[in-house]
Structures are given as structure tokens and as C-alpha cells.
């Protein structure tokens, strides 16, 4: 991990772009291709890239595990909660039309909020999975050095 200057420089340049693209996919998902699943995976890919280049421990400082766990639950709650909100507003479960004054606006708000929930959960769950696997066994950064001695 000492002589990866190129990797570090390139990823510092790439990671913000990855996040930006993730947000684009997230919020463009209502009228174009995209949505929460894809955006969540892209967003988590940015953080995983950070973890691969700068080490898992420093990535965990950016997003600690307990926060990820809360985020994963929060996303599901946003999704299910939107359903409950539409129930309370007099519609059926997940009937977005009642969320705003007009049907179209309601559908719009509904899908944006739902996809946000999906995006948060997918992002958090992908990272939890990555960290869970990365934690087990040898630390990733030492692989090259140890293989010679085995």
C-alpha cells in the first residue's frame, strides 16, 4: 500500500465523480433509466473503491458500521412509511396519487421518496456485506507480502 501513488491520485479524482453519477442516477430515475437499486450500488462502489485503495479501516471512519445498520433500516422504513403515509391520507397502501394535490404530482413525490429509501438501503447493505467479508481473515493490504512467505 506504500507505492500506489497512481491508484491514490486516480481514485481521489474518480470517487467524487462516482458519487455524482450515483446521485444523477438516483434523482433522474423517475423519468429516465435509473433508480434506487442502481444508484445505491454505484454509491457504495465509490466507498468500496476508497476502502480498497486507502484501507478498510479508514473507510470505516468515513461510515462506521453502526451508522450503516441504522441507514439500512432507515431505507426500509422510508419505503414502508410512505405506504403508511398514503394510508393515512386516505389512499391504499403505496398509492402515491394521494400524497399531493394532483395525481401526477403525487406519483412524482411518491416514486422519488420510495427510490430514495431503496437507494439508502441498497447502499448501506452493499457496504455492510463488503465490510463483513473484508473483516474476516487476513487484512486486504497485506496479501502481496504474505503470499511470498507462505
Amino acid at each position: 500500500m506504500k507505492h500506489n501513488l497512481i491508484l491514490k491520485v486516480v481514485s481521489k479524482f474518480l470517487i467524487p465523480l462516482i458519487f455524482l453519477f450515483a446521485l444523477y442516477v438516483q434523482f433522474h430515475g423517475d423519468f429516465g433509466p435509473g433508480g434506487g437499486f442502481q444508484a445505491g450500488v454505484i454509491f457504495s462502489a465509490g466507498i468500496i473503491l476508497y476502502a480498497l485503495v486507502f484501507g478498510v479501516d479508514s473507510a470505516k471512519k468515513v461510515i462506521p458500521l453502526h451508522i450503516l445498520r441504522v441507514l439500512a433500516s432507515l431505507g426500509v422504513l422510508i419505503y414502508a412509511g410512505t405506504g403508511v403515509a398514503s394510508l393515512l391520507l386516505g389512499g391504499n397502501y403505496l398509492e402515491y396519487g394521494v400524497l399531493a394535490s394532483t395525481q401526477l404530482a403525487g406519483q412524482h413525490i411518491g416514486i422519488i421518496v420510495i427510490e430514495l429509501g431503496v437507494g439508502i438501503t441498497v447502499m448501506a447493505v452493499m457496504l455492510i456485506m463488503f465490510f463483513a467479508f473484508a473483516e474476516r481473515g487476513r487484512p486486504i493490504e497485506d496479501v502481496e507480502d504474505k503470499e511470498g512467505s507462505q
Binding site: G32, P33, F37, M129, A132, R136
Partner: protein, 118 residues
């Protein structure tokens, strides 16, 4: 001839499906089994996406001057199935990691021997 070339995507589906299924059944290595399971599931994704294709249909995004679209529903269904597949793979591999820690091996017959020699 048309049966083979005209339906080439379905033939591919069948070949991939059987390759994956055979891997799951025949391999003793637990990771290879998961890989086989993934290949098996991918064939189903291909099957659904083939179903959704409409001849000469455009990408299902509303655009001016386009009247014929492909069917987007199978894509949505398969998006769900892909997520399920990711979850299954993650859980399966996590179990393999735990099995490796508990038994020291990921070969099915060695695990079997350990359980029955006790």
C-alpha cells in the same frame, strides 16, 4: 434451421441453465456450487429479458415519434430477481466463510467425513 437460429437466445438460456445446474449438482467445492447457482440464475434473467423483447420495439422510454416499445415489465421483475440473487450469493458465501472457520475446509466430502467420524 429457423428453430435453432431464430430462437438462439432460448437455446443459450437452456445451455447456460444446464451448465449452472450441473455445476451445482456435481461440484463438491462449496464456492463452486454458489458460482453454479449464480450461472443458473443468470439463465433465468436471460429468459425473462428475451420474453420482454418486442420485435422492432424501442427502448421503453417515452420519446417523440416512437410508437412501438419493448415490454419493460420483465425487466422490472428481473431487477427484483437480481437483487434476490445478490442477497442469496452474499448469504451463501457468508455461510461458506463460517463453514471454513468451523471445519477448516470447503470440500463437501471432507466436511461430511468430519461430521461422521466424531
Amino acid at each position: 434451421m429457423d428453430l435453432i437460429i431464430g430462437h438462439y437466445n432460448y437455446w443459450l438460456v437452456i445451455i447456460i441453465m444446464m451448465a449452472g445446474f450441473y455445476t451445482v449438482i456435481s461440484r463438491g467445492n462449496l464456492v463452486k456450487k454458489i458460482a453454479g447457482l449464480n450461472i443458473f440464475q443468470v439463465s433465468v434473467f436471460m429468459l425473462y429479458i428475451s420474453i420482454g423483447n418486442v420485435k422492432d420495439g424501442a427502448v421503453p422510454i417515452i420519446e417523440k415519434g416512437v410508437t412501438l416499445y419493448s415490454n419493460p415489465l420483465p425487466h422490472v421483475l428481473i431487477l427484483t430477481a437480481i437483487v434476490v440473487g445478490v442477497a442469496t450469493t452474499a448469504l451463501g458465501l457468508a455461510l461458506v466463510v463460517r463453514i471454513k472457520e468451523a471445519y477448516g475446509t470447503i470440500e463437501e466430502d471432507e466436511i461430511h467425513n468430519q461430521d461422521h467420524s466424531l
